[in-house]
Amino acid sequence: MDIMSLVNALPSVAAQGLIWGIMAIGVFITFRILDVADLTVDGTLCTGGATFIMLTMAGANVWAAMLGAFCAGLMAGLLTGLFHTACGIPAILAGILTQLALYSINLRIMGQANRPVSSRQYDLLVSQQDVREVGLHNPILVSALFVIVIIALLYWFFGTELGSSLRATGANLAMSRAQGINVNVTKVLGLMLSNGLVALSGALLAQYQGFADVNMGRGAIVIGLAAVIIGEVIFSRIFRNFALRLLAVAIGAVIYYLVYQVVIWLGLKTDDMKLITALIVAFFLAIPFWKGRYFDRWMKRGGGDRA
């Protein structure tokens, strides 16, 4: 095991982690703010990448293509939101339905299962080839800027009247209705915003890796949750401010990719990574439950002994 091969992979870890960090921030909006686990994102990630590539190939400016990808994500979130609010389908199932529908839609967008996009042919924002270059085109720098701008915009938005009503909806539905908030509207809005960000992340990812693939989003929700949870476990005691909590999520995604790289370096197959990710996320999601259940019981027994 050559330590240098791991060190060599670090720039790529940082760039990929930051791009996935944008996706994880999207997951944070639904999972932590709206209190909904939205499975749409597995499909939206590819939708974003696919939309970006097809618009680029059609001659669109790179920023127009990014905007197009963002809007495609908004639409995916809108669909899930309408399934959930207008059709009364439980949120998790609504997300699964949209995700399935998106599989076909993504194939329609791309016309085939896989589409390459070359940075030599098009003017892209990020590319894997530049990961060691020093300069404004370095993907680590570009994706970090994206993360910072997105966090700043979200920080502003969730401080507005509308953003506050979104947070209230996730915190307490009965209270929100009693305060005159149309919770159906806020839920749909939150799902749209979240999926818009995931699509944006998908667009960056497609540029970075040089292609979009219909399977590129498989398990994305779990990676997003992993990033959210890793960020919280490590930073929850020092990062209390909302913007810092979002930053923690993005850093969580980088750490996830670092662990990923280490595991591969240790000799595990990439094919096994989804299994490992699932187990890690399950473990961290279970901690609050175990804490409440076993720790309390242990405390009671301990108290009984002393009495």
Binding site: F157, G159, T160, E161, L162, G163, S164, S165, R167, A168, G170, A171, N172, A174, M175, S176, R177, A178, Q179, G180, I181, N182, V183
Partner: protein
């Protein structure tokens, strides 16, 4: 101010769990009236309040607030007229948000929520001033997350939120039932202060007969989804707990909970 015309609601119709909760109930509240509502379990008190708030659609009847027919308005649209405090202290506030953020949400009840700031400096000063009426010291803890407050503090805050924008109607659904006696007394005191100061038209459900007599200027008793007793003015002032118990017996109410008799 509030008019209920023959409202009916049956839950789970056509099943073994069928329950007629409101049976052609009619009620008229004048502006500024403070009405206490008592009745046994299942009498329909909470159902009546929830019907006014719009939690569920009615089977029949009409609800008018200040002359406006709100029968078909969804809950969030009626909120502009109505302030509410629930029985469960957890229900009226957003636990993950700060005290001042909760108040700011309440200050925008019935208004369009835009991209303007969710709370301004000017508001903060105003809320600190407003919180003083509760006499709980919350004005010094404006940025505390509401989830860290006690049930009584949360209930008092909910009361303030319900009255922050003067509602046409204040609905209190046994809002002190889940609190210890001392805290309950404090919240009731704050209720009385706010209702009197703002001359709020109020419907207050209570399990406590003494409270029902002490507070308000009108008392109604419910049974089987109807109002069986309605008393106000001088007559109400002379009312005693014994009188109320007699009324319950006459009505054939055998469902008096210990809580109602003992308190």
């Amino acid at each position: 101010m509030l008019e209920l015309r023959n409202i009916c609601k049956t839950f789970n119709p056509g099943t073994v769990n069928e329950k007629v909760a409101l049976n052609g109930l009619s009620l008229r509240l004048e502006e500024g009236e403070f009405v206490t509502v008592i009745g046994g379990n299942g009498a329909g008190k909470s159902t009546m309040l929830n019907a006014v708030a719009g939690t569920f659609p009615l089977d029949a009847g009409q609800i008018l607030i200040d002359g406006v027919d709100v029968t078909r308005l969804p809950e969030h649209r009626r909120a502009r007229y109505i302030g509410r405090v629930f029985q469960d202290p957890m229900m009226g506030t957003a636990p993950t948000m700060q005290i001042e953020e909760n108040l700011a949400l309440a200050a925008r009840r019935g208004k369009r929520r835009t991209l303007r700031p969710g709370i301004t400096k000017k508001e903060r000063a105003e809320y600190a001033e407003r919180l003083k009426i509760l006499d709980l010291g919350l004005e010094d803890r404006m940025t505390t997350k509401v989830g860290l407050l006690s049930g009584g503090q949360r209930q008092a805050l909910t009361l303030l939120m319900a009255s922050l924008v003067k509602p046409k109607l204040l609905l209190l659904d046994e809002h002190t039932a889940a609190l210890d006696p001392k805290t309950a007394a404090k919240v009731l005191e704050a209720t009385e202060k706010i209702v009197t100061r703002d001359r709020l038209t109020t419907l207050m459900i209570t399990h406590n007969m003494k409270d029902a007599i002490t507070y308000g200027d009108r008392l109604i008793m419910m049974k089987d989804g109807q109002i069986i007793f309605d008393i106000s003015g001088e007559e109400k002032k002379k009312l005693t707990v014994e009188d109320l118990l007699d009324k319950f017996k006459v009505a054939g109410e055998d469902d008096l909970s210990d809580k109602m008799i003992l308190s």
